[in-house]
């Protein structure tokens, strides 16, 4: 028997062939009954060739009216007949064959003590339930199959295995147990969703859990692991209890799994073919599957999971639109507002600490779900805003509308951030949210200054300035942010306010204990932010950051050389002036008492000398003042320029944080933000 099983297994799983006749093929049909229709058709055709008669003909001849007696008992004949009709149904899809199979197998109802009969009885009725869309019947048949076939076979199977009696001729249907596991798994996890029976399956969650628990795929000598559904079963079982479950609902898990699969297919097609009609269709199908999953979600945990996934799809779509410059006709019922609404509900529901009632195993799982949804909301928002900004740049005619759309999306994200990034609620906010808020603040400013046409209102410009300041407070290590602020101020003729706005930011950095600790501990990026901190501690460097962004450090260094040369030239000139004054002084030593007759002759000469001396004195005084100024410039530039040049080290930091939502520095931004809020609150209390 075992050898026969092994042969049959090879026949099905490995695709080789052997000469057998139909009774044997039908008796071992549990080996290949779960094959995909195409594979099953091919297999049955091959068996037909080997047996010299097609299954259809064999069935008609052997089990139809006026059937030929082949010597088998009635029970066997009925069972084989039912199996044959089932195979024809599964291979061809004709429900008529299924009806015949059901009609035949029902004649075995008084002989169900035989496990083989019982297995086929419940299997065939389960297929009938799927064909008719009767989900409760399907669940009932599968539970009965487990209870009356699987459970009784498990102990004998293990005993036979232990005693190496698997090959014993009398081991009978017991040896089929690994195939039964496989078939049950495929019927529940693959066949039922395909047949549209995709809800009210939750009682079968128990069977899926048991299948994953050392059952499916654990008999590699019978079914190679690679050919079993073990990995799929384990993934589903893990999802049933993981952070993306809906309190263990199988219906939800299958719906989400299907949607995820369709999403991945659509994503792959998008990457390969771009936004062609088939891609858009695949995206719609995936979005529809997510809608179905959302409908299956009973808990906020489940809803949050669906939104996290579907926002990823939305974000990818925006990114692809931006990248490909195509605007396909693709809409879904999912929105960022909807996701924020789910987030709000999830937060409120968990605020009282009763995570279990929301379907979460622990507070960690609850927070993990909140964070995941948050990050998808922020990523999708930023992607959508970027898309609108790109459109604004590409199509000036649309710049007005597109830039405002981007600003609105950023503002919504900032509002969301502002509501939760408080001392009481900050646990609900992931570390990466603080940099994302920086991006949104900066993005708002850019949308209204760099991308909007000239019709920006003074109120919008004022808002842009404020958002640039907010951005610097959230992430002061991006030196281009300071230049962006001065540019926005320049649009309003308010350049002079730069230092008033930037200095508090710089002082905040210089005083921050969080930054100090980060640098002292040598955490990731410490040297780069230390360079930025030293620059911000110097008012001259701060001015450089605001106004010298367009000039390269080399140009600034050349400027310093010019000042030095000018200063040296001036110093030289002043030396000359001083020497000249000294020479005049020697030639005209003091005013002696002049003789009366000579006084009238010398008076003009003396007057000229005094005039020259006075000019020299004035020139020297002016020159010295100018020299002092140049000295101050040289001194300041000599000190500040290296500090400013050192800030170039921080270039690329923002890109790194943008690319890595798990970058350690996100944690620093969180601490800095709450440190500032805490200091502001203390200051407010003191005043």
């Amino acid at each position: 028997m075992r050898r026969a099983l092994a042969i049959a297994a090879v026949l099905f799983w490995a695709g080789s062939a052997a000469a057998e006749d139909w009774p044997a093929y039908l008796d071992y049909a549990y080996v290949y009954v779960s094959a995909e229709p195409d594979a099953l058709r091919a297999r049955l055709a091959q068996y037909g060739r080997e047996a010299g008669i097609r299954l259809e003909d064999y069935t008609r001849k052997q089990f139809g009216p006026g059937a030929v007696d082949d010597g088998s008992d009635e029970e066997t004949r009925l069972r084989r007949g039912a199996i044959a009709e089932l195979l024809l149904y599964l291979a061809g899809g004709d429900p008529e064959h299924l009806s015949k199979s059901v009609e035949t197998v029902r004649q075995l109802e008084d002989r169900l003590t035989r496990h083989e009969n019982r297995y086929w009885y419940h299997t065939i009725l389960a297929h009938q339930a799927l064909e008719r869309g009767r989900r409760f019947d399907f669940v009932g048949e599968m539970l009965d199959l487990w209870l009356y076939v699987v459970v009784p076979l498990e102990t004998p199977y293990e005993t036979l295995q232990t005693l190496s009696l698997g090959d014993a001729p009398n081991s009978g249907f017991v040896a089929a147990l690994p195939y039964i596991y496989e078939n049950v798994a495929r019927l529940i996890l693959l066949r039922s969703p395909r047949m549209g029976v995709d809800r009210d399956l939750d009682p079968l969650g128990a069977i899926v859990r048991m299948l994953a628990d050392h059952r499916v795929g654990t008999h590699p000598d019978v079914i190679p692991v690679a050919l079993s559904s073990r990995e799929y079963v384990e993934r589903i079982a893990a999802r049933l209890k993981g952070p993306e479950s809906d309190v263990g609902s199988l219906s939800f898990t299958l719906a989400l799994f299907e949607a995820t699969k369709l999403h991945e297919q659509a994503r792959a097609r998008l990457a390969e073919k771009g936004f062609d009609a088939e891609t858009v269709k695949a995206m719609r199908v995936a979005a529809g599957a997510y809608e179905k999953a959302l409908a299956r979600a009973e808990t906020l945990q489940g809803q949050a999971t669906v939104y996290s996934r579907v926002l990823r799809q939305l974000g990818e779509t925006y990114a692809a639109r931006q990248r490909l410059g195509v605007d396909p006709d693709f809409e879904t019922s999912f929105t960022i507002e909807g996701a924020i609404d789910v987030y709000d509900k999830l937060y409120r529901a968990g605020a009282d600490g009763d995570f279990a009632s929301q379907g979460f195993e622990s507070r960690e799982a609850y927070l993990d779900s909140l964070h995941r949804l948050w990050e998808e909301i922020q990523e999708t928002s930023l992607n959508a805003a970027d898309y609108y900004l790109t459109r604004a740049a590409e199509k000036p005619a649309l710049a007005h509308e597109m830039s405002r759309s981007a600003a609105r999306i950023h503002s919504r994200l900032l509002g969301f951030f502002h509501r939760y990034a408080t001392a009481e609620r900050q646990d609900a906010v992931p570390d990466s949210a603080y940099f994302a808020a920086y991006e949104a603040a900066r993005g708002t400013g850019d949308a209204l200054t760099a991308y909007a046409p000239a019709d920006v209102t003074p109120e919008e410009l004022a808002m842009a300035v404020q958002r640039y300041v907010d951005a610097l407070r959230l992430f002061p290590f991006e030196r281009r942010g300071y230049a962006a602020l001065t540019a926005a101020l320049a649009r309003q003729g308010r350049e002079s306010e730069y230092l008033d706005l930037a200095r508090p930011v710089a002082e905040g950095v210089a005083r921050s204990r969080q930054i100090e600790t980060w640098i002292e501990r040598g955490e990731e990026g410490a040297r780069r932010i230390d360079a930025m901190r030293r620059a911000l501690s110097d008012s001259q460097a701060l001015v450089y950051l605001g106004f010298a962004e367009t000039a390269s450090a080399e140009a600034l260094a050349a400027g310093l050389d010019e000042v030095r040369a000018k200063r040296d030239k001036l110093a030289k000139h002043l030396d000359e002036l001083a020497r000249r004054r000294e020479a005049i002084g020697r030639e005209n030593p003091g005013p002696a008492a002049p003789a009366e007759d000579a006084a009238s002759e010398r008076a003009p000469a003396a007057g000229a000398t005094e005039l020259e001396l006075a000019d020299l004195a004035r020139e020297l005084a002016d020159g010295k003042a100018q020299l002092a100024s140049l000295d101050a410039q040289v001194s300041a530039r000599t000190r500040a320029l290296p500090l400013y040049r050192a800030t170039e080290k921080s270039d690329g930091l923002a890109d790194e944080l943008r690319a890595r939502r798990d970058h350690p520095m996100h944690a620093l931004l969180r601490r800095m933000y709450h440190e500032q809020r805490s200091l502001a609150a203390d200051g407010g209390n003191r005043s």
Binding site: T155, P203, A206, R209, K241, E298
Partner: protein, 180 residues
Amino acid sequence: MRATPICVRLLLASLSLGLFACISSDGPPDQLVPEVTAAEASTPLAGEALDARKRDLERAYSDLTHFQETLTSLHYRKDRNGLVQFSQFLDAYLGVHLDPMLAGEWQSRHPELSALDANVRFAKAQLLVQLAERGRAADAMDDIATRFKGREDMLVAYPPGKQTPLGKALEQLRERKWKG
């Protein structure tokens, strides 16, 4: 000789008729040898039987935890149809499979199996509590108390995922029964 009372004669007559009826039936009775009890049938005789029972208990325990998870999910989702279907399944599972396996006395005393046996019994009792089968749950708990009398310090896996002395675990389980 005293005359036989009519009532005694009638009784004898009926007995003889009954005997005749017995004698006159075709063939032997259905069971020549009385059916053994489940407890006797499951007594281990050799090492493999012990190993087999160990595997059975281990499998039953993990299956019961899967049932509990599923039941919790169905309760949470207020899935009435699912609860009805699954409860029927569990009822049959307990009656057809688990109870006969647990009927044996020896496994509760066997040093290699007693802890596992106790774990399965606790899991079963917990499942009955989840099913709101208070009477049966109480019976299961009483059975645990009787079987493991004097061994209240033995560690059992209750609540799930924790090791608790049997006596204390039983108290907690009884407490839970009334809380539902």
